[in-house]
């Protein structure tokens, strides 16, 4: 079956540094990707999304890069702050024709050290 995975389960950075969280996907037909942030005890919060016709998309302090050649997605957080500490996970549409179902990765725990 298709799956969305993460290269690293944990990431620890110093406050002010840039963070990069990676995600690999296996379905070349996936056409929509989302990054979510989940703080302890809360529901996932939408951060940024990207469609397969784009390579890069920027938000406030966040950038998502999509490399379709190697089926790789990354989330870059600039000037990481303690409030960024959370679990981050990516989601994809496993089937370009079904515009409702998302497949979620297991998540990466980001810890920001002051």
């Amino acid at each position: 079956g298709e799956s969305v995975g993460l290269h690293l389960p944990t990431l620890s950075v110093q406050e002010g540094d840039n963070s990069i969280i990676n995600c690999a996907y296996s379905n070349s037909a996936s056409d929509y990707f989302i990054w979510y942030k989940q703080e302890s005890g809360k529901g996932p919060q939408f951060i940024i999304d990207i469609r397969s016709n784009m390579d890069k998309r920027q938000g406030q302090r966040v950038t998502v890069l999509l490399n379709k050649t190697v089926k790789h997605l990354s989330l870059q957080i600039a000037a990481t702050q303690p409030g960024d500490s959370a679990v981050y996970f990516c989601a994809e549409t496993p089937d370009g024709g079904s515009n409702y179902k998302l497949t979620f990765g297991k998540g990466t725990l980001l810890t920001v050290n002051p």
Binding site: I34, G43, P44, F89, A91, N99, Y100, G105, K106
Partner: protein
């Protein structure tokens, strides 16, 4: 801003009890979803609904049922709770009507209900 609310943050029930989890969204979204989240397993789709009174099974529907009588409300029902249904339950909604050319839409999540079945 999209707001998805869930009726309880924490719930403790006994084995065999009937459990209702309620979810309400205020953005007139077409689609609503119920997931459970467990350590090491990530988010797994239980059921979703793409219209009032319409529902489809997700990946793990066994032991659950759902109800969508109004567009803004989606209920998850555990007919006879069991200990293996102890989990974090997350409701989500998304805007785009299914099977259109507009492509997939972002799902917005509620705060979650942590259910413990004793």
């Amino acid at each position: 801003d999209v707001k998805v609310t869930q009726s309880s943050r924490y719930l403790v029930k006994r084995t065999g009890e009937k459990v209702f989890l309620e979810c309400v969204q205020d953005m007139d979204h077409e689609n609503m979803f119920w997931y459970r989240q467990d350590p090491g397993l990530g988010l797994r789709l239980i059921y979703f609904s793409y219209d009032v009174k319409m529902k489809e099974k997700g990946d793990i529907p066994e032991g659950y049922s759902v109800s969508r009588e109004k567009k803004e409300r989606f209920s998850l029902i555990l007919e006879s709770a069991s200990t293996n249904q102890t989990s974090m339950y997350l409701c989500a909604s998304s805007l785009t009507p299914l099977r259109t050319d507009r492509g997939t839409d972002t799902q917005y999540f509620g705060p979650g209900t942590r259910l413990t079945v004793l």
